[in-house]
């Protein structure tokens, strides 16, 4: 079932999203580098769910609205997005920055959210744990740090650069800086309100995450005690890419 492209005009922001499949709505919120292509895990999830993959405001093929100043703006935008698409009991899967957005949404309003899958989410900070400096790392080193299995990094580095790809990369990087430069990749006020998350929550983390070290996962589990915690061995920052089958199994089991 192929993904189709859609545009939605919402909150003065033309928003691009891809959609495929039927069933429980499942919204995938991408991380700092966007969701420029349909990945195998998306296709696999689309065999069972109504999978929606938006480009966040300021990313990919979506507009860069003037109102976009911080992560809270994105959270309110996506609550409007769920309403605009009339999604009900949606599962929100958020990877990295996307996981942060998912949590910011859920502490505000879960009336349209059925469950959360937080995949190595940013957004909170564990004392003594130093995340990678994603703005200072040279591009190649950054890609290498994303993966435990370096074959994935080689594959990504071997992809030819196109002018469009460079433009999108710079756009995504700009918005990531706008939202997450300071405080770096987290919201110091978020932990105070994580108890408001009242939907089933699953945390997935790679044990060898060199971007947001897995020690952060245990701190998050402490803050959302009802959440289940899945630590994947031999896995980096993108479990949905590096251990696609295992990741999809977690979702299949978790989201009925």
């Amino acid at each position: 079932m192929p993904f189709t492209d859609h545009h939605l005009e919402l909150d003065r922001c033309k928003t691009h999203y891809r959609r495929a499949g039927k069933g429980t709505p499942l919204v995938f919120l991408h991380g700092a580098s966007g969701a420029p292509v349909v990945l195998p895990f998306m296709e696999k999830l689309a065999t069972r769910y109504d999978v929606i993959v938006p480009d966040h405001p300021g990313y990919g093929l979506s507009d860069e609205p003037e109102w976009l100043e911080n992560i809270h703006d994105v959270a309110y935008f996506y609550l409007d997005f769920l309403a605009a698409l009339r999604l009900d009991k949606a599962c929100i899967i958020g990877s990295s920055m996307g996981g942060w957005i998912a949590m910011e949404m859920a502490v505000r309003n879960t009336s349209r959210i059925g469950s959360l899958v937080l995949v190595s989410p940013a957004g909170h900070f564990a004392e003594g744990v130093q995340p990678a400096d994603i703005f200072l790392l040279p591009q190649e080193e950054m890609v290498r740090k994303l993966f435990h299995d370096q074959r994935f990094a080689e594959q990504r580095l071997a992809m030819p650069e196109t002018p469009e790809g460079i433009d999108l990369g710079l756009k995504n990087r700009h918005t990531t800086a706008r939202l997450a430069w300071e405080p770096r990749l987290h919201d110091p006020f978020l932990p105070k309100w994580l108890h408001r998350i009242d939907v089933p929550t699953s945390i997935v983390w790679g044990a060898q995450d060199h971007i947001l070290p897995a020690a952060t996962a245990h701190e998050l589990k402490r803050l959302i005690p009802q959440a289940e915690l899945n630590i994947f061995e031999s896995c980096g920052h993108l479990p949905q890419v590096e251990q696609m089958e295992k990741f999809c199994d977690v979702v299949f089991r978790f989201v009925r």
Binding site: F135, L136, T176, R178
Partner: protein, 379 residues
Amino acid sequence: MQIVLFHLMPYADLDLAEGRKNGTVWVNLPNRNFDPEKGHKLYNRYLDELEYGEALGFDVVGVNEHHQTAYGLMPSPIVTASALARRTKRVRIAILGSALPLRSHPLTVAEEHAMIDVISGGRLITGFVRGIGAEYHTFNVNPTFSHDRFHEAHDLILKAWTQPGPFAFNGHHYKVPYVNLWPRPYQKPHPPIWIPSQGSRETIDWAAHPDHRYTYLQTFSPVKVVQRYLKQYRDTASGYGYAAKDSQLGWAVPVYVGDTDESARREAKQHFENFRNVYVKMPLEMLLPPGYTSRESLKNVMKAKAQMFGDVTIEQAIELGLFVCGSADTVTKAFTGYWNDMRFGNLLVMCQFGTLPADLTRANMERFARGVMPKLKPL
């Protein structure tokens, strides 16, 4: 032409091998490389050099601001400018400049600059900058708000200097219920404002705007680039409907004057190359964080990466006009030629650069002041 003796105050005692090994002397070169006893001697030597600038007849002495780097030891130009304000009598003092977006409260800049202006009896030239990209890493200030914060901080400072207080200022980034500056600046309506820049359309449009007409300084760039941006300033001013005065343009450049062309190159070579190839160097990600420049400019830099980030020899630098070096006659001829092309009313010469030691720095200043400056001032 107005001649400014400009100083970066580098940590000249740096272990250069350490700097090279680290890839940059900015942001993350461990500060165990700074020896406070050597620092003590350097600060006093550099301040002496600037004070000597007054005796040699320079019109202005200039200092600037950089953070957590061996490139320049002036995290606060306020401190050095204050020391100069008391130790000099005639020369103007330029702060080039204060990095507005890096300050959490712009009124502190308004206050400190006003203090120096009052203490010096109106000898301050104010400069405003955004700080370089590396400093957004150092201070963790969001670079995507850099332009916004710069403009708003500027507006607040100008209002604080020129409008009777107390009044309220309600900006997007800064909200102040009682703007009521004590002291007010000595000069009326306020000290002259200079804008040092590496060149960007946005900065030029803003500086040349009829409401501002600020002096634009192109810093440490190949002469072709200097020409392009100074011309762009004049064109922009014409576009706004007025002709820019020469005094609205300036060029900041390292200079070395020797007894002969040959001895000048020989004496300056290693010190200039240390400056260019160790002190200035930093990786692209550090130099241009997202949002610090437009994405178009960023792409241009990425294209020119090999050229910008590779080493440069003194011979190449002289050829590029990145460095002006030679006998007094050669240097006079070079600047006269450049002036004929560009008509900049302000020339900022950096007579100390990189590891250039005290004796050579003084000799350079003296040869420049006696053999070059008298011929440039009437231009």
